[in-house]
Symmetry: C2
Subunit: 225 residues, 2 copies
């Protein structure tokens, strides 16, 4: 366990990128003080949060390590790489340069090619300036969740490296990204058919406490069921 | 120099993600046989290329290392991380976990939060199904190039770690991503005002042969000026 006063995580219950960081912290047994930023109420653009991260983006992880000035880290995959470098075990990346490249590539297919298309700022643009009504926005969500997950499914189903998880039999950054997409699809009530390998891996992930505890439904600010 | 038969890069002259890989190969002095995939003609979805990468995505880097089966690597930042692990010098990441996290975060602001919004598949959706005409598509491009670059400018201008380049005085993954956005903006004739730090860093990058040689204008398939 780390010094519980070292890390502060600025987060929101339902965001995919925050979920990734939360799972990684759980896997590595790192405690972080979580600070809720209500992005539905625009708190990420308020003066208080802008002092933390002038870009108004969550997640932001503040490292209050005793020996150095506080450092604000942003962007989910770079935060995962940081945690991996600082606390190498349990590992989020496999050994072997090709296996590591494969895991990072699977992660990027979702974190870079899929998720940025479904963010609140894109929704705001399309509905306020792009002429999208609620149905058009939903079709857009379905399109990009589906494109990303079907592409991932094709790779996972074809590659012999796929095991109980995306790469072999341990959870990696790729599984964290996969789960981060599935949990927000549930929040938005979007379903994608034809992804049996992904569904099988997601079931495995949910049996791990580090993933289960990070589920949006159990976070501060989540609507009660 | 590496074995010139080891790497094969499937690429297209004007894509931002291919440019990143090309610059990284040049910085590390790695030769790769470049294979042109004409994405304006849809070649990435033809049978020949789908045998290489069933997902129809470039860049794809094939590693024909003698000791192992050929491995196909995809997604630009994971390919950069792979090259960094295989050939650590000249480095694309600084020393120090916080500095590395900062570089990866700056890179992700562009490669993950900006570029995926401006890709051909998004253009196809918005113009064919989303009701966007040419002006609406251009406004969309300007919006997201501007959002990404203004956010990056704010960080670069405020952070004492910014030097001649995004992080100190050597080019890193962050500079590669920055330049990869600027070069495609030029192809699309999109201009963003109010980014003096970025413009200063871009000028520095262009003085480096590894960047200059990778410019879209000088690649196979580029329109003659």
């Amino acid at each position: 366990m780390t010094d519980p006063a070292r890390f502060e995580l600025f987060s929101y219950w339902r965001t995919s990128a925050t979920y990734r960081v939360r799972v990684a912290l759980n896997i590595k047994g790192i405690e972080a003080l979580e600070r809720n930023v209500d992005i539905d109420a625009g708190e990420q653009l308020g003066d208080d949060f802008l002092k933390v991260n002038p870009l108004g983006a969550i997640p932001a992880l503040i490292d209050h390590a005793a020996a150095a000035p506080a450092a604000t880290l942003t962007q989910s995959l770079p935060i995962l790489e940081f945690l991996e470098e600082l606390y190498p075990t349990p590992a989020l990346l496999p050994r072997g340069v090709h296996a590591r490249a494969r895991v990072r590539s699977l992660a990027a297919m979702l974190a870079s090619d899929t998720h940025p298309l479904i963010t609140p700022r894109v929704k705001r643009y399309l509905t306020q300036r792009g002429g999208f009504d609620a149905d058009a926005w939903r079709a857009w969500q379905v399109q990009w969740f589906g494109t990303g997950l079907h592409a991932l499914e094709a790779r996972l189903a074809a590659d012999p490296e796929t095991g109980h998880f995306c790469q072999g039999d341990s959870a990696t950054m790729a599984d964290i990204c996969l789960a981060s997409i599935i949990v927000v699809m549930r929040v938005f009530k979007v379903e994608v058919e034809g992804i049996p390998t992904i569904n099988r891996i997601m079931q495995r992930c949910e049996q791990i406490e580090a993933f289960a505890k990070a589920d949006p439904r159990w976070q501060v600010g989540a609507p009660s069921v």
